[in-house]
């Protein structure tokens, strides 16, 4: 099946006339999201995001390679978004369609080019060795709003990931296994999230978190990426119909509220995951830090 079957005329007219009265087919408010759940896998760097029926799994892997000759002090960070027939029978294997292209472009702009990940911290020996961080997104179910779900999954996975510890002595590099030394977190400078708005009736109606049917009927979309401090990473507008400049401004205001919510959710999920891993206070026990001798102990040793 090369493309998603288009909704029937009846379906789309009904949806559009309902939207004119500010009613959505699933009864949500125009600016409401479907229920979101974020879970982490048993290994570091896996995040599973469910947004209504949409489901995205992000996985981070890391290996040692040589850096690009023109970027000697930087590690490599790549994002791979290959859609498979798991998500929808319309996705073909080995053929890039527009959904995939737009998704990878938005993520590239939001996360890579906004400098969310400090690639310099992935450098081991300048010009010789660096970490190559590979992020892979698996779209398991596609029911609209892939961009927001993927971005959320990717940022959460990056925050969850730990890379192996290294030790550099001159030219010699030792990479410690996860069992030998506690792996370390990545250096994340800020957490950008995407919020996409679909617009209808020449920009009169703006809808957040569109389902697949709503996406198919929309005139165009505006994707805003920002972090919780309101710093905009990118704004993209796709689709033919023009949008009013002022409504883009209202989009960014609405996006900021949403992004703050996302940020809080990720922080809480990470905290819960850490508490789950640290059952019985094993982390405290593994700490290599020596216990400071107290005064009475010192006196005892003198005797």
């Amino acid at each position: 099946m090369p493309s998603e079957p288009a909704p029937s005329t009846n379906e789309s007219t009904f949806l559009l006339s309902a939207l004119r009265e500010n009613i959505r087919l699933d009864g949500r408010a125009l600016d409401a999201y479907r229920p979101i759940s974020l879970t982490f896998g048993s290994e570091y760097g896996t995040a599973d995001v469910r947004l209504g029926k949409t489901r995205v799994l992000a996985k981070i892997a890391c290996e040692v390679t040589t850096p690009y000759p023109d970027r000697k002090f930087d590690g490599i960070f790549t994002i791979n978004t290959e859609l498979s027939p798991l998500g929808s029978p319309a996705f073909e294997v080995g053929r890039q369609d527009t959904t995939e292209l737009l998704l990878s472009r938005v993520l590239e702009k939001t996360i890579r080019r906004s400098g969310a990940l400090d690639t310099e911290s992935l450098c081991i020996v300048a010009g010789q060795k660096c970490f190559h961080l590979k992020a892979t997104l698996h779209v398991l179910d596609h029911d609209g709003n892939l961009v927001d779900a993927s971005c959320l999954a990717l940022v959460a996975a990056l925050l969850h990931f730990r890379r192996q510890d290294i030790e550099v002595k001159g030219e010699d590099v030792t990479i410690f296994d996860v069992r030998e030394r506690e792996p370390i977190r990545l250096t994340i400078q800020h957490r950008p999230f995407c919020v996409s708005f679909s617009y209808y009736h020449n920009g009169e109606v703006m809808v957040q978190d569109a389902t697949l049917l709503e996406e198919q009927c929309r005139q165009g979309e505006v994707v805003v990426s920002m972090n919780r401090f309101g710093e905009v990473a990118q704004i993209a507008k796709y689709g033919g119909a023009p949008v009013d400049g002022l409504s883009v401004l209202s989009c960014t205001t609405a996006a900021l509220e949403r992004v703050k919510g996302f940020d809080r959710m990720v922080t809480e999920a990470l905290k819960a995951d850490e508490a789950r891993r640290d059952e019985g206070g094993l982390m405290a026990e593994l700490s290599a830090e020596n216990e400071r001798p107290t005064g009475s102990m010192l006196v005892g040793s003198e005797n």
């Binding site: 791979n80 290959e82 498979s84 027939p85 798991l86 029978p89 892979t136 698996h138 179910d141 029911d143």
Partner: protein, 239 residues
């Protein structure tokens, strides 16, 4: 530990299943019968397309080889002649792998039973017409001893790895082995695996009667499929 199987975790795919063995977790989705491209169309039967997606990165020659093995296995399961000039599409996504880095050849064979079981469960869930029921299992030979359904540690430094699949009638549908072994050992392994797979499909109550039935594992496939049927027929009960 018996493997775990969950049917229909996905919404969009016609049939889907998550299968977890001791080593891997695979998420399978089956779509079919769907439209086939002119190039792959077969005039008298359905074409089968299997896609294996590694947990990170994109697939390479190893995945292509595994795809060819699974495709030929599925061809012996599906009633392909019922859907001529159509396509049955199976996508297998690996979601969890052993944390220990295994040798390439060992890892390839070790993955096959998980892939096969997941693919089969997805086909069942998708309601595609099947010719037979099957279960695949893995065994390793380690220090001269056969270990069925090995753990990560058993795979490291083993002599040989064997992946086999049997139908409910005890017919061998798949055999892939790697490592050092002779025919006698292979026959021993295949007999052990036949018992294990038969136990997974055994009728309830039948395995208790058998000698040493308990140690061959519980009939997990039968349990999972039965649960599915009960769930599907729940609306009739209320009537």
């Amino acid at each position: 530990m018996s493997p775990s199987l969950a049917l229909h975790p996905l919404v969009r795919a016609d049939g889907s299943a998550t299968f977890t063995s001791n080593l891997y977790t695979v998420l399978a989705a089956a779509n079919g019968p769907v439209e086939v491209s002119r190039r792959d169309e077969l005039p008298e039967e359905a074409a089968i397309e299997v896609n294996i997606r590694p947990s990170s990165g994109v697939g390479g020659p190893r995945e292509r080889w595994m795809e060819s093995v699974i495709t030929s296995l599925l061809r012996s399961l599906l009633l392909v002649h019922l859907h001529p000039r159509m396509l049955v599409q199976v996508t297998l996504q690996i979601t969890a792998e052993p944390s220990i880095k295994l040798k390439r050849g060992v890892a390839d064979v070790a993955l096959l039973p998980t892939l096969a079981n997941a693919a089969f469960a997805a086909l069942v869930d998708g309601g595609l017409p099947l010719e037979r029921t099957m279960v695949a299992a893995l065994a390793v030979v380690r220090e001269g001893e056969v270990v069925v359904e090995p753990t990560e540690k058993d795979l490291v430094g083993c002599q040989s790895v064997h992946a086999m699949a049997y139908s409910m009638k005890g017919e061998m549908l798949l055999t892939e082995s790697t490592g050092r072994f002779d025919l006698e050992l292979w026959e021993d392994v295949s007999e052990r695996l036949r018992e294990t797979t038969m136990a997974a499909m055994a009728k309830a109550g039948e395995d208790e009667g058998m000698e040493g039935g308990a140690e061959k594992g519980e009939p997990w496939l039968r349990h999972a499929l039965k649960e599915n049927v009960v769930k599907a027929n729940a609306w009739r009960e209320g009537g």
